[in-house]
Symmetry: C2
Amino acid sequence: MVTIRDVAKKSGVSVATVSRVLNANGYVHEDTRKKVMAAVAELKYSPNEVARSLYKKKSKLVGLLLPDITNPFFPQLARGVEDEMQKGGYRILFGNSDENAEKELDYLNTFIQNNVVGIISATNNKAKNNYKNLSIPVVFLDRTSSDYPSVYADGKEGGRIAAQEIVERGSKRITILKGPAHIQPAQDRFQGALEVLSQSNIDFHVMSTTSFAFEDAEKWAKELFATYPDTDGVLASNDIVATAVLHEALRLGKSIPKELQIIGFDDVPQSSLLFPSLSTIRQPAYEMGKEAAQLLVKIINQEKIQQQQVQLPVTFIDRNTTRKVDTNG
Amino acid sequence: MVTIRDVAKKSGVSVATVSRVLNANGYVHEDTRKKVMAAVAELKYSPNEVARSLYKKKSKLVGLLLPDITNPFFPQLARGVEDEMQKGGYRILFGNSDENAEKELDYLNTFIQNNVVGIISATNNKAKNNYKNLSIPVVFLDRTSSDYPSVYADGKEGGRIAAQEIVERGSKRITILKGPAHIQPAQDRFQGALEVLSQSNIDFHVMSTTSFAFEDAEKWAKELFATYPDTDGVLASNDIVATAVLHEALRLGKSIPKELQIIGFDDVPQSSLLFPSLSTIRQPAYEMGKEAAQLLVKIINQEKIQQQQVQLPVTFIDRNTTRKVDTNG
């Protein structure tokens, strides 16, 4: 049985230093840390974290619940959370809820049973009761909440900006693709766009879509042009749907952005690789993940929190599915 | 303190049935399971899985190590693993290695310290020694290994098929974009393509690229056309790079697929949404994840394994960046 003393002896440092390295707790010089980790590896020392978590009544695991990692917005969030948590020595217990309340509850139970010290949740389950009974801190991510600490982008403002930009660039018959009704951020961006268009003199249609899935996006795009063949501006519910609309418009021989302008939402990495590249509203997904992780760690450490609700700004990314603003009026 | 007996009483079933539900172990009727879970929720019963894992020396956690979840190939793998593990009541402890050996070792230590019952790893670290000392089962995913159980697609055959298809469709000056040297599947597909082109009468170039990252893909695409402006067929190292090549070719005014054919690799979901939609070699990512999970669960349960190495087939997806085969010869 290899002990912490063996590791200390092998690496030529004190037991306290080895402990600091293993617990990622307090300052240790990088060279020292490498020496200790080398000794740990060589001696195959493995402190039993489970035994320790029972003793300390505290582990270094954090639960992360996302709707669906195959939607390309969420890997960015997840990396932000993980990279920040990694720094503090926390590790991620992970699950996709598929916006299914039973699956969500099941994962929350798993998290608790494995003694996570906190949870970051990006789900839309209205039954927030699931969270009310938890005795550990929860931070909502990509979701607004007045009851819980939360980190989100300003979706309503994003919707407003998208509508203003497409109007300013001359679209006259705009279609808003309204995202799924049960997904709050989709509704926020829709409400923002609606607010601006309602107050304008521009004709517009609203078309409801019920998912953000790749396999459905093509269907919405076909339906859009079948129903509103003369639309000359589309505010899409996210970049996946915008990509499908762009594809379908090109297939129909429409000239982009001359005859039709398109603005997406999210700015997922692939949007800049399209041709024409997609104009969109950028949500800072990676930064949102990092902010949520920082906020949760502060709460876990009982540090003073300045703000329970952290709203990050959105920005218009002016690429090639929108026309340039006519500065001559 | 709520006990398992309270849950049994509340839901009107035996303690053994409650135990079967909570351990996802043995047959329980769906209605019974729902009744038990409702009682668990109402009574806020939470068996301490950590205490139990110490007692049983066995938890229901599985470690999943991926290179980088923001590469859109990997979320598909991860969902396959998770969905299959979910069925058996296993949960995922998750990390991205960024192909960094130290980070990989760090995550492996975390997995062990949290008493995972098995590990699925999709990393390229040559120092397989990290895995040799583990006393729990490991399945390599998206990686070939003769020493360990592994699940992978036939990358070499994929490279061969891509080369055959582009030659058959008339490209005469082909460029192979060779992916990162340290990523084995990238080398496999390159070797397959090389084998076919070497034996043909076709001129071809090989251009090395050192990453699969979105932020680099555009750079390779520009370099490609700057170096080989008259190339009329590109075998890309993956779909991200293929997307960047397609975008750059359209920007340069090339007619696709008339003047230039492009074949990607992976078939990530966004590839079918491009315009023209991307012809590519499909790896069955979701199925690979499921297969790896099934294999690991069998090994954990000490069931008899038919095959340690599971190779899944790849297929050519004939979309619109390749010409139709001239059947008149």
